[in-house]
Amino acid sequence: MFRFIFRRLLETIPVLFVLATVTFFMLRLVPGGPFTAEKAVSKEIMRNLEAHYGLDKPLLNQFGAYLLDITPKRFAPWHLADGPDFDDNADFDLKASFGIDLGPSFKYPNRTVNEIIANKLPASLELGLLALSVALALGIPLGVIAAMKRNTGIDYSASSLAMVGICVPTFVMGPLFVLFFSLKLGWFSASGWYFASDRVLPAATLGLVYAAYIARLTRGGMLEVLNQDFIRTARAKGASETRIVLKHALRGGLLPVVTFLGPAIAGIISGSFVIETIFQIPGLGREFVTSAFNRDYTLVSGTVLLYAVLIIALNLLVDVVQVWLNPRLKFD
């Protein structure tokens, strides 16, 4: 298993290199740069601006310097939590822990990309984990119940509910929740990320979509497993229905869910632009999308690389968990 993990980690190096290269050059090919503005500045000022950020050097030199900056130079994960940044909370210091310097932000002259990521990732992570909890807590039981009461009224209502969850987009669901729970009932703030209660509506909105997918996948997976011989054997031995479902069927029934969860978790914790905009959450998803509009080269590259690392890591985790859940699979 360790050989497997080690090999997969080695494979990520060329992937990240290609990604960094493609992002770097694609950004520079797009029309308009970080200093393109409606009110033009003089040629001298533009030259000075470019000199300040090193954009006056040949592109290949810029690329070389960037690659050198983002290459990990030390391994001290225990320093990860002690970086100073905009707020005084402990956070995510890539420079002290791994020597990774993602560069200065072009849009925010007094912030570095390391700082922005450290500042914004926690909110996205928190929202993602809460939404994931909602998704699992609702989706799995709903799927299990639907599978057990197959083709009954309960199954149909659970499946329709899941269908609605998949079909109604978050940008409709979110404002509807705000309209009802905060403007009509006054239970929550309309937007913001200041109090514990501010987490409820965004987590519910984002979680419900994933809950719907999970419910459908769980139902499908469970149905397949419940028809298998070992379940019939368990029934014949007189095991209770609860025991059959929880002990025997769920483990196999969740396999499709686990496959789905890898990329889903990466997507969910790396931040959702739509949810973060509706609820004005200071997350990385919003930062990522606006950085592309701002042509904030370093911030775009930095977030792209971070997302890539997250997706690769989570896919690896999913592969490991799948082998653990399904003894018929082997590491190879």
């Binding site: 393109t36 003089s42 914004k120 309309a190 937007s191």
Partner: protein, 542 residues
Amino acid sequence: MRLSALLFVLLAGLSHLGCSRSVSPNTTAAKILNFGNGTEPEELDPHIVTGVTENNIITSLFEGLVNYHPSGEGVSPGVAETWETSPDGLSWTFHLRTTARWSNGEPLTASDFLRSYQRILTPTMAAKYAGNLFHVFGAEDFNTGKITDFSATGFSAPDPHTLVMRLNHPVPYLLDLVKHYSWFPVHLPTIEKFGPNDRKGNTWTRPGNLVSNGPFQLQSWLPNQKITVTRSPTFWNASAVKLDGIAFYAIDSVDAEERMFRSGQLDVTSSIPTSKISEYQENSPSLIRIDPYYGTYFFRLNVTRPPLNDPRVRRALALAINRDGIINTILRAGQTPAYNLTPAYAGFAPATTLKTDVTEARRLLAEAGFPEGKGLRRLEVLYNTSEAHKQIAEAIQQMWRTNLGVDISLRNEEWKVYLDSQQNLNFDICRSAWIGDYPNPETFLDLLISGGGNNNTGYANPAYDRLLADALATSDPTVRATLHQQMENLIVRDVPVIPLYFYKRVFLISPRVKNWVPNILDNRAWQHIDLAPPSGELKGRD
């Protein structure tokens, strides 16, 4: 089993969350104004930023030589108590008050201003607004590196409380200029504590570091959430400051902002979704405000491309637009139709204007060799991706098609791509807008100067350039006004741009907010704003 344990933990965590109740962020004991301030500020360094959201925060933290008048029009004394100008208008002397102090208690002197002007003009700062100071003798040469000795420029401080500026040409509206943050003083010793003073990337503007001289001081900065400022005890006029603090919320969604206003989280917003304007006007007229704003929405025409190189074609297009229709059906906030470029303000009124005259438009088009649009190639209208711009472009497309028989296609581009196309004249017709930087027609008329950085039409008229040069050289306001009118006459005659409407500032405001006076540039003197105690007014917002 392990899995169900995990589920249990997750459920327990969730139910815990559901129990915690929200505390209203509206602290009513202290008078804190909650203001929806648009996007996240790039910085709070007056010498680096360029935007409106930054302006709002910086004017609460810093104060320039003069301040905004409580009435919204004109100036009132700021750091300078009095000032005078020489008879030829080329030299200005400001007498600074001895009670002006920084928020760290140090006195504010004329040398702080000198060092600040030197900083913004230093080439390595690459300050985008350095050009604002170019009226002063030698400022431009210093900024472009032609001279390196700052004492050779027109800025001087004969004594700690006197500041003198020698100008290149008379600037009758200099007081309106020095209200802008690019002229504000910064505390150099603080900046130097956190890095070199002439480069970007300095962290002196962060909470705890920032030293300022205005009515408020920086308390906290939560990026993409809010910036809070509190009353400064060292401000020379501290007793006149009415609010205890202001929370500037960074909100980049108009819809979210409106919901926050409705839920009582905000007292004033920056904008309102267009779709909600009539709803508020009908049901809660006391909550919506429509103020004049010094901006013009117009189409740029690429005069280097046939057939738009023919002024008759350009004029025909300009005459065949029903501006009132656009305002009443799309914009819906009673904007003023624009038949010339510069808004009528600051002593300016256009002598001639365009009009809506379809018959004349058809005649001009026929005269240019395109009767009823025949033989005219398809023209393309470029706009940056936005629902409002799209609707306006579609309406005009329809008007030109029915009125003139001209075939129009539409092209939308993402903001920076659009700017790139516009600056490289890669368009036929391009949606544009201009918001004045200072209350004087020159902020608009400067646009169409030959080869100007913001011209973007290819229009080059030596007569026009000469008129602007003449206006800049004279200190006589009546002569200036006449020259401005002549410049506008040229724009209306040659039509390098098609003016469409003059902007209005449309926003939501709680009746609790007092002294929020209209200002054509949407700037405020924050020390005059007040907040009445809360009443049952919140209920009215449903």
